[in-house]
Symmetry: C2
Subunit: 417 residues, 2 copies
């Protein structure tokens, strides 16, 4: 494979960003619809290229779960196309006036939403991210440079080629989407230092990928971190609510970042609640790991280690701890959580308020499942990821989170004294 | 000097941040007033310590301009105290509800402003930053860890000790401000990788410092960059407005990031405008460096090199270029600017609109001096710096820019289907 000229790719992206910033919403929606049609039309070639990726992965002995992530089907390609059509239906965030103020000297200042410019996405082996990430970045007026997992290179190339064809048909520069066609780690490292051209990097994938990007990138990063999410069953909990919420948050989908990984229970309700909860969790095949108080009440529970409290299992496992008051619950959660999603079950307004205020997380819940931390569930209509950092965007990120702002200042000759 | 335990400092900051998040506005304002009084009361000891820093700097042959930055006087300490009192008068941003939405399933979601948590500030030799940065971070509910320039170590220690005394008197944890008492570069490097405890790093200083932080930090950084600011004199400019704006932006204060460094002039007005402008600039002792067309009309102008167009002079020097249309002006500015502040002088609404839309900068002006890019001039009442990146905050940063948000979600038993 020839040497990747990242500099040239950066220059092309930086050039096309000005074109995209000016593109009216109607044109952007046309491109997205065109891309959806093109993906459908190219289904056969995409499946063929994906087949080669799958074949190589199988030869390399890839885990079946990973192969499933890598695999495209007619249905999955149709879903990618449908995703682009849905993005076309979302409101364009660009141009929104966020604030207007007039200064005593007559200067009129308008804080206005603008695209970020060039967004870099580094992701693992799901080829559908290629179309999704393009759609969201493009609708928010950004050029995108993608670096997918090496296992999915041919699939990603096929999807990218299809989208570029659609851009060409729509008379928009094809460089609105560029794929780094390399499986070389050194190229990824250089990509993470392309500050001159790339305004932000968003890693999408497991903890290892995200850590590597945070460690090595000099381009600003939006960290989409892991979720060690807790549910706290308060002294004043309605236990009729607690049980279904816990079961939902733990078992409705185990492999996702907003699933519940740890339970914190007030000692006043432990005797009433734990046996019933344990039966339900056992039925759902959830392994319980608890502290001494839990183990004393739940025969099936294993002893939890310090490490358990800090682990995002993404599995049918739940750590459990009994606390003597709300302070201890909040301190425990703030110590072990990953600032993602945390819930309290309580009918006591004061305790609810304290939990909402004092627990440090992107999303804090009262009497609801942590599984709602999601761009679609929040009504954003889309999601590029869930941020667990505090800069720029926190929690589910939709189109607005893929924008910046600029100050537009109009005067009539003002000078500074 | 003993080894600095950054880990322990981080832990203390992370602990105190929960206390600060809950501190009511009234208490915060009391602390700020108390700190102002304490600084005044400690003037003598601060001046004494500052005198030692000055003495050492003089022995080391430091440039007089740098020594002036380092020097504290009774007046400067009084100004630091007054700065803290002004911050006490600003509205507390914490707790503001930014958005409320109710989902079809009844979940009520409130996007609410919260402190960032722990802010790290890395700065050079102005000891007044110590009090300023504390004041702003504290009012926005954040703990701050400071790393000042080695030349100012004793001054910074004296200011920090004074503020900590005030915190103690006010029964607030003194660790709301911590100073890294080290002149060791290795300690600075470790500070930039303290991701577990520090939510954001803000470098304040010259281009070299900022580049070093961007290059080496794994903690998210808000880049406060340089300003290679342009003024474009359009074909439809009111030249009566253009002249005072250019003089103001170039000469009112030369060493600041929002000063004008480069002029772009439409060829249709060059013959009418350049001779008059040149006279005025000469009178103001501004050296002119222009392209061929400028040099043909202005005898005193030297030939500008490619490097000139990319230089932030911070001096009585101005680069100048003639263009044949607005497109060329915008392309030139987008090529050479540092995304800080750019102005167009025009009476043509369409050209103004295009300039505002298409020039990529934090602040874009019509018929006003670029010198207004400033937190105080914008009415923020304060400024921690001017961001030239697009993530989180762009342009002047006041108290709001030192906050994040969280989603508070209230339900009555909702689970996800």
């Amino acid at each position: 494979m020839e040497k990747i000229d990242l500099e040239a790719m950066g220059q092309r992206a930086a050039k096309v960003k000005y074109e995209l910033q000016r593109l009216p919403e109607k044109r952007k929606n046309e491109v997205l619809s065109e891309a959806a049609e093109q993906l459908a039309a190219d289904t056969e070639i995409i499946l063929e290229e994906n087949g080669k990726d799958i074949h190589r992965a199988e030869e390399n002995g890839m885990h079946p779960g990973m192969i499933d992530r890598l695999r495209l089907t007619e249905g999955r390609i149709a879903a990618m196309a449908e995703g682009l059509r849905q993005i076309a239906g979302l409101k364009d965030p660009v141009g929104e006036v966020l604030e207007t103020f007039v200064r005593p000297n007559g200067l009129r200042i308008r804080k206005t939403r603008v695209p970020l410019g060039v967004i870099g996405i580094i992701y693992e082996s799901r080829p559908n991210v290629t179309a999704d990430a393009f759609g969201l970045c493009f609708k928010a007026g950004n050029a995108v440079i993608l670096k997918g997992g090496s296992d999915a290179l041919l699939s990603n190339m096929a999807v990218t080629a299809s989208v570029r064809k659609a851009l060409g048909h729509s008379k928009v520069s094809e460089d609105a989407i560029q794929l780094i066609e390399s499986t070389d780690r050194e190229v990824a490292s250089r990509f993470m230092r392309l500050n001159q051209y790339v305004d932000v990097l968003i890693p999408r994938g497991g903890a290892g990928l995200i850590r590597s990007v945070v460690e090595n990138s000099t381009v600003p990063v939006i960290e989409t971190g892991t979720g060690n999410c807790h549910i706290y069953v308060d002294e004043y909990a309605d236990l009729e609510k607690a049980l279904p919420i816990i079961l939902n948050a733990k078992t409705q989908r185990i492999g996702v970042c907003n699933a519940c990984e740890s339970l914190v229970i007030h000692e006043a309700v432990k005797a009433r609640f734990l046996p019933e909860l344990a039966r339900a969790l056992q039925e759902a095949k959830v392994e319980m790991r608890g502290d001494e108080q839990v183990c004393a009440l739940v025969e099936e529970a294993k002893a939890a280690t310090e490490e358990d409290y800090g682990t995002e299992y993404l599995d049918y496992v739940l750590s459990m701890k009994v606390v003597s008051d709300l302070d201890e619950a909040i301190a425990h959660i703030n110590k072990y959580n990953t600032k993602h999603s945390e819930a309290i079950i309580t009918e006591n307004k004061e305790n609810a308020e304290r939990f909402l205020n004092e627990v440090d997380a992107a999303c804090v819940y009262v009497n609801a499942s942590t599984r709602f931390t999601d761009g679609f569930e929040f009504g954003f209509g889309a999601e590029i990821g869930i941020s667990t950092q505090k800069l720029h965007a926190r929690g589910p990120m939709g189109l607005k989170e893929l924008t910046s702002y600029k100050y537009r200042i109009e005067g009539n000759g003002q000078i500074r004294h």
